[in-house]
């Protein structure tokens, strides 16, 4: 068993976790990250164990199920996105902050092709990982959303869950050619839809100084 702080707050002594166990766990995580990123969610766990230089038994002891392994691997990644939201909370324009978070999310996803597929698979099966990351990101994005809604810049009836869902879904379609610019465009549309329209934004298309809401990519 891996030591967990606070797990056993009654009197029993608690052994320090074994050094080799800690080391091996780390190695497996490292290997899993690489293999999942490259090979997607179907990657062989035995291959991961081999790459980590441990026996398959060791891998299973640390991560009894495939999903457990996902969870551990992605936890850090999710944290990163979450922290970004924290930073953006200080931006001046709350709507823009939201937009920027979403855009960063796209880039983030872009660097982890196989991993996203794996994540998506986990989400499907309602695993622990989903619960964690969804909640974590929901909370992160919620603060951005609240701020924007409180400022009256954005409709207030869309929940963080909704938004996250939509975002995730859009990204899921990645790995088609041009998916990235497509998602970016979609997000712009989406944020436009969320925004409580300020007067400046309301021009019929004929009017000339229309701000270029979206730059076409292709």
């Amino acid at each position: 068993m891996i030591y967990i702080a606070g797990m056993d707050d009654h009197t029993d002594q608690i052994r320090k976790p074994r050094a080799d166990a800690v080391r091996n766990r780390e190695r497996v995580l490292e290997a899993a990250k690489a293999v999942f990123s490259a090979g997607g969610p179907e990657a062989s766990l035995e291959a991961i164990a081999k790459r980590a230089g441990v026996g398959i038994g060791t891998l299973y002891r640390h991560f009894p199920t495939r999903e457990d392994l996902f969870e551990a691997v992605y936890r850090r990644e999710v944290e990163q996105l979450s922290e970004l939201a924290e930073q953006l909370k200080n931006a001046k324009d709350p709507v823009d902050a939201l937009r920027r978070w979403l855009r960063s999310g796209v880039e983030f996803v872009a660097t982890k092709k196989g991993m996203v597929a794996a994540l998506a698979l986990a989400v499907q099966s309602g695993s622990e990982l989903h619960a964690f990351s969804f909640e974590r990101l929901t909370k992160a994005i919620g603060s951005l959303l609240d701020r924007a809604a409180a400022a009256g810049a954005m409709r207030a009836d869309i929940s963080p869950e909704d938004l996250l869902r939509a975002f995730f879904g859009m990204c899921y379609m990645h790995d088609q050619p041009g998916w990235q610019s497509s998602v970016l465009r979609m997000l712009d549309v989406f944020v436009d839809g969320l925004r409580v329209q300020p007067a400046a934004n309301v021009k019929t298309r004929a009017a000339k100084p229309v701000k270029p809401a979206v730059k076409r990519k292709r």
Copy 2:
């Protein structure tokens, strides 16, 4: 080989396809539809063969890969959605027609939990199925979109591909509690974002209209 009209237009004789082959193919499709719907994309092909009452070899002869089987199963389903778009082209309000198509899509998806996961998996791997359904639905939705854009009711820089991608993505997150109403809400937001804002919709909430400059990707 299954007979395909026009496959062999030079002089050779062409045998009629064997009745048992046709029958078995149909049985396998039937079984696959049921099994995939229930069990998702991971379902055992052997289970499908058994349910269809044929040998595993027969299944593989007709559908050499898992994806081939998906393709055949979903083709009809895709056709249905596609036809719906055709009908909606005659609605009065083009934006509303689009909205309704999307909403029907959600319902459609809702009845086929496992199947959508299977489809999504296929999309991931860039299979034939994806090419077919994406193109088919793109064309279908394109007509709706064009009509709305031509009427000046909708921004014109969003392609059918974009829209389909976003829609599919949103639906992909299904099987969480409440996903359906969430997706419906998201779609409303989305369609609102697409709509070229009519003056009536414009309430000035903020004295100073924020200039929502879209930041380019860093």
